[in-house]
Symmetry: C2
Subunit: 484 residues, 2 copies
């Protein structure tokens, strides 16, 4: 039961039933109603069967009284019904030869009441005896753009998840974190092969999905959010194998006693000590991060940046004080900011006329919004230096707000977009100093342009430098033969 | 010369001349033109005299050929002319009995060329011999809402600095950092008595301004961004005295060798070693922070939050995964998240009906957008517990985007605004998970509402918890008599 050669069937159901979808639409959609609406809007490629004892019709689809009433065979069932009714549903699914049930429902082993734990093992028992795989309980389920599976609604004010598939595979024990990670990744130009919110892992667990993504040809980088594991030794074996094939970025939460307690009440996970995890992840060759943002920060480099030859970085942008901060934060994160060689500094002096008000050492402080050519030429002359491995450009939006008009900013941004395609050296950008809503708005527009140009975008030096450091460490370790 | 009983005259000039303002207005305003435009728009209370050898008229004001041509006496001169012309200007100012000159101009001791250092000492010499105080060179100057001094333009797309005065006094060696700090503080509900960007500190330096703000009755909290000091022993004495009267929050950059080099090229400051600074700041009773954002994070508590009785915090909001992260980050920052007492958990169970899908231990995970009454009652029942000293509410915008419409969010937000006025216990809020521009926009609107309700707002748990920890440390040390 535990070993499945492939979980591919989970991601391409031909028929999908959702239990718990009332045909009564109130002032706001219920969660199962939203779920079904999302699938329709997202263009799910299979057939959708709403199920509810009261029957009726919703979104033009007949609501079946129970799963067994459906004449079609059913590949996948989403259960959004009260926990206590789940065993009954499973029994029906068993008779119907359903292959997989996603238990959206919570109220199982994660709650303190012993009843939840008993219910969960009852449900798993029925599933195991009948060859049904369980996803969850207590999870959002699957996002797979290539087959049209999703769980995010497309409301007018909000965007659902993107329908573009991509190379990142995400396994996450938290539905909220899954959602946030997909949204954050998308705004930074990363798309997904699959994202899996798996909750309590009563049956299918982290190791099953990790094995699957390791063998999935559409997944180039694997990201994991985990609170704890069910079967430690198996996870260790699976992770080592995964990391020998693909970069595996992992955020293990529950590093403090209070965090461990929170894990237990969230997904009933046994979290383990932080030290044990740290050394185990290192040994397995996984890349450890400390937040969902950092999953995106690091993935970005694997997917968008060529491997730097070394740790020598240049920081260039407007602002002297922020340059000092950049120097501190980049150095503390493990990058080296060498003094620029005299010939490069001489070129910069020629480009900008004088060094007054600027700094050409490194960090390089240049006028906030110089002419298009100035920045392009400056970055190119820096990129031409053998000494420099990485270029980090930064853009302080609240400072621009001080002085300049939008059309000038537009030209400046275009010059960066041009650089992104013409400079071969690894480059990243920092969009920061965005306190006001005007600055935030402008930064979001600029970010979209940079992302489309393939440029990695970060909200601060600390996060950029820390991600680059982990990217470098991964490849440095690779050289020493620790990876296949 | 070094000891001035008060620098108050700097902030209330009756007459102000700006040297370097050409009457020719091109497609964008030059920096000195923007400077003068800003003063006019901001409502500067004195008279403004533009100065430029070519004469003419700008913004309805006559442009004088030189300072001496002005018949009025001149209190304050802003010099935005090339560095090499500055000694000549100073000589004119001396004859005119000008009290203070702000050298906006750069190209002095901060550049590598020896010429800059020679020029700077020449200018200081003239000033000292003639009783003129120098601000800068290489700085943005003064922001003082009560007298209408500013340096931020009000362009249509952007907001200038607020005209509302407030209790925070800022001394900053970087103009960019000053600008950013004012913008960031403003969006979080903090206003300024004075903000001083002082650059190279050729004459007036950090100690002069710190002394002044210590004695300034309108300044309740002092914030400092510093790269290095001119006179170490004097700064130590001044800082100790300041910290014995008011909270002093200080961001000393240049903590790494590269950072120290960056300081030298930015403001010619001798940065000193990080260790020396850390222990000195601690000993002086100052609150050390590591970024401009953190200056705002910590100031916010001194200005908006009553002093918590202890370190016991509750985190409440939507999301289980994010709750685990909150538990880790708050604990790592030094807060304690005690398990909620049974009676409080029982109240929460009554309010929300069941614990399925929620967590009532601490962090408390409640439905993303419950009815108005639910959250109000939940927070009130938590606040009523003697065990709890601090309440941190969090709001994940990308998760809301998943599910709900705006009117529902509006009601939910109103309930938080109500809580801010009815709950006496120290409260803070975390507005996070804002990846998409829609989420950012919504978060900015919500932030404005919370800020108006007097609620401290943070973009993440780490920053909130770290600021609260420093606030607690300050008061804990106070109890031990380390402060007056």
């Amino acid at each position: 039961m535990d070993k499945t050669p492939s979980l591919d069937f989970l991601f391409r159901p031909k028929t999908l039933a959702i239990a718990g979808v009332s045909a009564n639409i109130g002032s706001i959609l219920t969660l199962p109603q939203r779920y079904i609406r999302s699938l329709i809007d997202f263009g799910f490629k299979g057939k959708i069967y709403p199920v509810h004892p009261a029957g009726g019709e919703i979104f033009g689809l007949k609501v079946y009284k129970d799963v067994e009433e459906i004449s079609d065979s059913i590949d996948y069932v989403v259960a959004a019904i009260p926990a206590r009714l789940t065993p009954q549903l499973l029994t029906g699914c068993a008779r119907k030869k359903v292959k997989a049930v996603h238990l959206f429902t919570s109220g199982f082993s994660e709650i303190e009441d012993e009843v939840g734990k008993i219910l969960e093992s009852e449900v798993v028992d029925i599933a195991r005896k009948n060859g049904i795989r369980i996803l969850g309980p207590n999870c959002m389920g699957l996002y797979c753009p290539s087959t049209g599976l999703t769980f995010a609604a497309n409301y007018p004010e909000q965007r659902g998840f993107p329908s573009t598939p991509g190379p990142l595979g995400l396994i996450s024990q938290s539905g909220g974190n899954t959602t946030y990670c997909i949204r954050e990744a998308t705004t930074r130009g990363i798309y997904f092969s699959k994202a899996i919110s798996y909750g309590n892992a009563a049956d299918l667990n982290e190791s099953d999905f990790l094995e699957y993504l390791t063998d999935d040809p559409n997944t180039k980088v694997i990201a994991i959010y985990i609170e704890g594991v069910k079967d430690g030794p198996r996870f260790i074996r699976t992770l080592k194998r995964a990391a020998s094939f693909k970069p595996v970025i992992i955020y293990k939460s529950g590093n403090t006693e209070t965090g461990v307690r929170a894990c237990a009440s969230h997904t009933s996970a046994m979290a383990g000590s932080a030290n044990t995890w740290n050394s185990f992840l290192k040994q397995a060759g996984a890349i450890q991060v400390n937040s969902m943002e950092e999953i995106v920060d690091v993935s970005l480099l694997f997917l968008k940046m060529s491997v730097p030859k070394g740790r020598n970085a240049v920081v260039i942008g407007a602002g002297g004080g922020v340059g000092v901060q950049a120097a501190d934060e980049c150095t503390e994160a493990g990058l080296i900011l060498p003094l620029l060689p005299q010939d490069v500094r001489q070129s910069l002096r020629k480009i900008y006329g004088s060094e007054a008000g600027s700094i050409f050492r490194n960090p390089v402080d240049v006028p906030g919004l110089s002419s298009k050519d100035m920045l392009v030429n400056a970055v190119k002359s820096i990129a031409a230096s053998e000494l420099i491995d990485i270029i980090i450009m930064h853009f302080p939006f609240d400072l621009w707000a001080l002085a300049y008009r939008k059309e000038i900013i537009g030209q400046y941004i275009e010059s960066v977009v041009e650089l992104a395609s013409s400079v071969r050296k690894p480059m990243a950008s920092v969009l920061h100093f965005c306190a006001t809503i005007q600055s935030k708005q402008l930064a979001a527009e600029v970010q979209e342009k940079f992302v489309n140009a393939g440029l990695p975008v970060y909200p601060g030096f600390k996060r950029a430098a820390s991600a680059i450091n982990k990217y470098l460490q991964y490849h440095e370790r690779g050289k020493n033969g620790q990876f296949k």
